[in-house]
């Protein structure tokens, strides 16, 4: 088998996903190590401009255009990859570990009976083996696993774990014909829905005090509000709180909520799951309060208080006003 690497690009509404640039950068490094070539597959309809943008990264872009690929469907993309594999035999197929990536990768691996490893934070080659670092148990344990196979291995890479690829010369767009039998695409795209609720714009706030499940009860929200007010900020939340309707969805920070860049972010009783961290890791000063010293939020925080938030906040308020 070749040392080639195939990457499936992700795009929505005319924009490439930032995570695709990260996967390209990992793919470039792995191909360099294994003496192979990186190719990026771009599936869509009328997406030539996106292919050209990808080619600026110095990679070969296989542009597959078809009406059946106008919108992402798992079925359509599996058929497109299958078509590409007829003429090439990469060692590894990579996608980002996004809602789309972890829809496609396992569906593909299942349909073609291929080895699969997802949500990797590190990927390297060791001889004929692929060695992958993953995070387990709420980020509290790290595991290194290995896979060896004479078949193409399918993998997804967690967003934010590799630096995005920078421009490089030598890229090229290769329009590639793949015949896709539209009758085998069983699902039909209907529409995109957007949130409509009106609320404060969390993304514009300079100071955010976010509450997580660690605040225990809805009755403790006023404490968070009072503290937010004292530091000139607004209240944000982790997902479980908005799922339980303690706060409106507009207050949710994270991958499926808002991405925020405040000057100060105080995480109150938030464990630091990757989906939360994705939305706040670039805040200027991150203060985390958590009773569990092994909570992964302390990995992204600048200052960490191992404390009961329901005790620390009132005591701090007293210091500030008393």
């Amino acid at each position: 088998m070749s040392g080639d690497i195939l990457i499936v690009a992700e795009h929505l509404e005319g924009r490439l996903a930032p995570s695709t640039f990260e996967v390209v950068s990992l793919g470039r490094a792995l191909a360099a190590a294994s003496g192979g070539v990186v190719r990026v597959a771009l599936f869509g309809q009328g997406v030539r401009a996106l292919a050209e943008a990808l080619a600026k990264l110095g990679v070969e872009v296989l542009l597959v255009e078809d009406v059946a690929l106008a919108e992402y469907t798992g079925d359509g993309y599996v058929l497109a990859v299958r078509g590409l594999l007829e003429s090439a035999k990469p060692r590894l197929l990579l996608a980002a570990h996004t809602a789309q990536g972890y829809d496609l990768a396992p569906g593909l691996a299942g349909a073609l009976d291929l080895p699969l490893v997802t949500n990797a934070v590190g990927v390297r080659l060791d001889g004929s083996r692929l060695v992958v670092t993953r995070r387990l148990l709420n980020e509290k344990v790290q595991a290194e696993i290995e896979i060896a196979s004479d078949r193409m291995i399918v993998g997804t890479v967690r967003p934010g774990s590799v630096k995005a690829a920078s421009p490089a010369p030598g890229g090229i767009v290769v329009p590639t014909k793949v015949s896709i039998d539209a009758s085998r695409v069983r699902m039909r795209f209907a529409r995109i829905e957007r949130p409509t609720v009106q609320d404060i714009d969390l993304a514009a706030a300079d100071v955010i005090v976010s509450a997580g499940r660690g605040i225990q009860k809805k009755e403790n929200l006023p404490l968070i509000e009072e503290f937010a007010k004292a530091v000139g900020g607004v209240v944000g939340a982790s997902r479980p709180l908005t799922d339980m309707d303690w706060l409106p969805k507009t207050r949710q920070v994270g991958q499926s909520g808002k991405t925020v860049h405040p000057k100060l972010y105080v995480a109150c009783g938030i464990s630091g799951a990757m989906q939360h961290v994705a939305g706040m890791k670039d805040a200027g000063l991150i203060v985390a309060i958590n009773t569990d010293p092994s909570a992964p939020i302390f990995e992204v925080a600048h200052v960490g208080f191992v404390a009961d938030v329901l005790k620390l906040l009132p005591a701090t308020l007293k210091e500030l006003t008393g």
């Binding site: 599996v78 570990h97 829809d103 691996a109 696993i145 290995e146 060896a148 530091v231 208080f305």
Partner: protein, 257 residues
């Protein structure tokens, strides 16, 4: 339009705990753990039971794991599942999602299924892959991170969550597989009589199928995560911590006094 629904439920170590690594470095120490149902799977179970209540049919709760997993299956029976099946399997090997999914898929094939539900991800392994793999192996269309399900004339309409709060809506013909997202519904509490009834209900235990893997898998080793950043950790009495916190906020100019 009665629906035969299979819902995959996983039992996981309570992720709020701290974990130690076993002496061989290949697993966590399991002697002092307590276990619970995986978070997303509570929503998958609730969705299954709601769909059954609305359209009629049956819900089979399916789990792969050792005997202790029966606890999760009893919970499912108490909350409205009609039948519980456990594929007897020891813990080792659950590090490979491909093995887990192939074993589950082998059983799904033997059960009547219009709809197969799983959670979006397990909070111990976090692969977000078991559902899609089962779908690919069994040959079902699937959608991931589902927040809403409607059924009309054997066509599902599902909303799937994307990054940043967008939803993508699909129409998918049955039979199909969906991975259900946190918050898709409000899981119910089991009423006491149902809990008592579930305690007496049988759980069908089946031997794992023999599956052939197109690869070799191994755990090289577990370790505490290598911290990327290093928070300056403040410990001590709450009063001392509060003083330091207030001082920090003043120094950085977030409070004036």
């Amino acid at each position: 339009m009665a629906l035969n629904i299979v819902v995959c439920l996983k039992q996981i170590p309570n992720p709020d705990l701290q974990f130690q690594i076993a002496p061989d470095g290949k697993d966590i120490r399991r002697d002092a753990l307590n276990y619970k149902i995986n978070g997303a799977d509570e929503y998958a179970l609730e969705e299954a039971v709601r769909l059954k209540e609305k359209y009629g049919g049956r819900v089979v709760a399916l789990s792969l794991g050792p005997k202790r997993v029966d606890q999760v299956l009893r919970e499912a029976l108490a909350k409205g599942a009609d039948e519980a099946v456990r594929i007897a399997h020891e813990d080792s090997g659950t590090y490979d999602v491909g093995t887990v999914a192939r074993l589950l898929a082998a059983t799904v094939r033997t059960l009547p299924h219009d709809l197969v539900l799983t959670g979006v991800q397990s909070d111990d392994q976090g692969s977000s892959a078991t559902g899609g793999l089962i779908a690919g192996l069994v040959g079902l269309p699937h959608a991931s991170v589902v927040t809403r399900v409607d059924v009309k004339d054997r066509i599902l309409e599902v909303a799937t969550e994307l990054e940043g709060g967008l939803q993508r809506v699909y129409a998918i013909p049955l039979p199909a597989l969906l991975t259900i997202q946190f918050g898709a519904n409000t899981p119910r509490y089991a009423p006491l009589p149902a809990i008592m009834r579930a305690a007496r209900q049988p759980i069908r235990e089946i031997a794992p199928a023999s599956v052939s893997l197109p690869y070799a898998f191994g755990v090289r080793g577990l370790s505490p995560p290598i911290a990327k950043g290093h928070a300056e950790i403040v410990t001590g009495s709450v009063e001392d911590q509060a003083k330091k916190f207030a001082q920090l906020l003043r120094e950085k100019g977030f409070v004036r006094r």
